[in-house]
Amino acid sequence: MGLSFNTIQFHAERCDGCGDCMLACARAKSGGDDLAHSRIRILPGTGAADPFELALCRQCADPKCVTECPAAALAKNATTGTIDWDGDKCVDCLLCTVGCAYAGIAYNPATARVSKCDTCGGEPACVKACPHEALEWRTAAGIFNTAGDKEDLFVRGLAGCQGCNSELLIRHTLRRVGPECVVAAPPGCIPGMGTVGFNGITGSKVPIFHPLLTNTASMLAGIKRQYNRVGREVLMLALAGDGGTADAGFASLSGAAGRDEPMLFICVDNEGYMNTGMQASGVTPYGSWTSTTPVGESLHGERSEAKNLPVIMMNHNCSYVATASTGFMEDYYAKLDKAIAVAKTGMAYLHVYTPCPTGWRIPPENISEVCRMQVRTNFVVLWEYTPRTGLRLTHRVDKPRPVEEYLKLIGKYKHLSPEQVAHIQRTVDEKVANLQQMAHGARTVEYA
């Protein structure tokens, strides 16, 4: 498996153009304050409303600067992922700058040579210097490197819909959990895509079973007790849909959460019964088209509000509750690691928001963007809770985008009237305000 690498991410909406990053870079690279030495460039936008722009080496996987170099002075470092420049070999011909369309390698008049970002050996000075967290050192790549080395405990060829990210989610999750587990997959998309069966050729490579919609949590609780009795440490994992969690599955889950039964219960929330014909569930958001909340003359999609299931779970006071999104994998992994640890002794509940390409009518290639937009508009809020720390937000959204930008990506909302959109915006704002109140102003902790 090829290596993935950490990278510097620029959040244009957080940048105020203060230039501290350029100064920090110049100092790190030259010891002085001459900004000519800075390898990162912040450029003012074309108008007051426009964000700041960036010129910085992207450490391309298929770097054109390298292919344009006649002197073999540039090379992709297979260990660090940076494009390394060898000043002894470089003949200052500047052809590399023809190859780069990002202005990532450029002429430095102070040295009369090219210069480019080397990520300061993995501790970029610009990121540390940014007072607004507009530059972020993204380490998601590390996840893929370590996960890639672990055995995929689902077999190949699961039959999920094209674009569905549940497969990504469950493969990552089971790789991290490892083989010492028992998986319960109640009726829903996850067994529907062929995960149940453990002969090593179909389904999964770990013990997996198909409980009823109603009894997932109580079955896992019983199995865990039996393993405890024989003295074997085995993790109980539920991969349930929102129907098996919020509706029919809720009684047994609520009981298990109240008793803090040791297990990791993951709700893969696609806002309805997407596997059986797209019926509404208890977490279907207001305004959604489903086959049971149609759009016509008198009905304009779901009339009631979705219940905030993770908040309800939090109020059971079980050991760990968190929300997550596959658009933010570092955040998910940090929470998964905590949940796995907690599930040895108590209940860990992860609520993962999972847009459905088929049932929500989203082109498959847009699913990741929809995941990101859920969070950027605050439609989905990423947070975690333990009885000791209380609720903490885990992702800063400085300038939330209007929820309309999220809704318009999704076919099930295409009938919405401006009044309905305004209503959804209001409920989103209220939800965020409530969560912030529950967080008691605690500082947002970001998992990067």
């Binding site: 244009a12 460039r41 450029l43 003012p44 936008g45 074309t46 426009d50 722009e53 960036l54 010129a55 298929d62 054109k64 292919t67 344009e68 006649p70 002197a71 073999a72 002894d88 070999k89 003949v91 200052d92 011909c93 500047l94 052809l95 700058t97 023809v98 190859g99 780069c100 369309a101 990002y102 202005a103 450029a106 002429y107 008049p109 009369a112």
Partner: protein, 418 residues
């Protein structure tokens, strides 16, 4: 009879890029590079730096044995191809070895053009085509005190600069003006005066009428009757596609091997790329565009097409793209740089700050950038190239672009990428 799924003739930028593109899509098909070289792959562009001693031949290897092994690319040296036979899908090397192929890429580059000057054949005239040429010229320089360079293209100018820096008395014969493909007359003057200021004799507007041996060196008689003598003679009057081996093959050629937008020739399963290919010009028609970035583009497209990569893109057309570092100066030229076509209404903004030898020319047409050139004022050529290729409308930012081309272009590209 050896066989290769992908047979590539050549081992420089176009050939290597094609091999890389093939491997991105086809992990298994055999790839073989046939080269007349005895060395590992290097760039012709580096040769002037070998002559000057700045680079060492062993340090400029573009792909080493480890890369070849890891990528499953076989490099066959001493394998000059002398014949191509599409009927039997085979090529023949100078040693008589026959290779068969499924798909063939011709990336044989260019050969120096030797002007028809009386007596030129009787003297030792250095050219700069291969590493061996470069080493021979470097070694000859160490015992010489004076040199004559015929031609003021990039190769000739680089060599002349190296000679001047090494203390040789250098005369450069320039038919029209230096680097005229890339720079306007005003920019050419700046470059020329930098050379003159460093002791090189720039004989502008002159061609050689005759050459004769004089002692160990030579004497060149100019078209005005003057005679200059020197220990060394270097011919840098351009290159032309090397395609003599195609005789009788049915592969269509004009100034170069004619290639379509996927770098396919008229013959099935035969592609051409790099300095040997005559492909689309961004400005219309076809052209041989003998530059390194163009060779890389060709190679990438040819390789992807050969491997039937669905991600292959059509060649948008070649244009002038170059950077030039000389003495204490650096210059950039993207797009229409030298002579502008007669047709078309161009909006030209040209500034010379002769005191500091700072120069900039922006050529626009219908609000779009078509040419950017500068001296001692850096603006990212890769960004300018994209703005030209994308025909980005600069009308809304024209004033800012003319005032601060680098910052404005960077800002635009950053926006376009997001």
């Amino acid at each position: 009879m050896p066989h290769s799924t992908y047979l590539i003739v050549g081992s420089s930028h176009a050939a290597l890029e094609a091999a890389t593109a093939i491997r991105l899509h086809d992990a298994e098909g055999s790839i073989t590079l046939l080269t007349r070289e005895t060395r590992l792959p290097y760039s012709p562009t580096i040769l002037p730096y070998i002559v000057s001693g700045r680079s060492k031949p062993d340090d400029v290897v573009l792909r080493d044995e480890a890369w070849l092994a890891q990528s499953g690319v076989a490099l066959r040296r001493n394998s000059e191809v002398v014949r191509v036979d599409p009927a039997t899908k085979s090529v023949t090397t100078a040693a008589g070895k026959v290779w068969t192929y499924d798909k063939l890429l011709l990336a044989t580059g260019g050969s120096p053009v030797i002007p028809a000057v009386p007596g030129l054949g009787d003297v030792k005239a250095h050219v700069l085509h291969t590493m061996d040429d470069a080493i021979a010229l470097r070694d000859a320089m160490s015992g010489a005190r004076s040199a004559i360079v015929l031609g003021a293209g990039l190769c000739g100018m680089h060599v002349a600069e190296g000679m001047a820096k090494a203390g040789l008395t250098v005369s450069v014969l320039i038919r029209s003006r230096p680097l005229r493909e890339y720079f306007s007359p005003r920019a050419g003057n700046l470059i020329q005066s930098a050379f003159a200021g460093n002791g090189a004799q720039m004989l502008v507007g002159h061609t050689p009428a005759a050459v004769e041996r004089r002692g160990d060196g030579c004497a060149v008689t100019l078209d005005d009757g003057r005679t200059i003598a020197a220990d060394l003679l270097m011919v840098g009057t351009g290159v032309s596609p090397a395609m003599g081996y195609l005789e009788g093959s049915g592969v269509e050629t004009a100034r170069g091997i004619l290639a379509d937008d996927r770098m396919r020739t008229n013959v099935a399963d035969v592609w051409a790329a790099g300095d040997v290919a005559e492909a689309r010009s961004f400005w219309g028609g076809k052209a041989v565009n003998g530059i390194l970035p163009g060779a890389v583009e060709h190679g990438r497209i040819a390789g992807a097409d050969m491997a039937q990569d669905a991600g292959v893109r059509s060649f948008p057309g070649g244009m002038g793209l170059n950077t030039y570092h000389y003495f204490e100066h650096h210059a950039v030229s993207v797009g229409l740089g030298g002579q502008l076509p007669d047709s078309g209404e161009f909006d030209i903004d040209e500034h010379v700050d002769a005191g500091r030898e700072k120069y900039r020319r922006i050529v626009m047409k219908a609000g779009r950038l078509v040419g950017f050139a500068s001296i001692d004022e850096f603006a990212d050529p890769g960004v300018m190239w994209q703005l030209i290729l994308r025909r980005t409308d600069l009308t809304p930012v024209k004033a800012a672009f003319l005032a601060e081309p680098q910052a404005t272009a960077r800002r635009l590209m950053s926006q376009l990428w997001r």
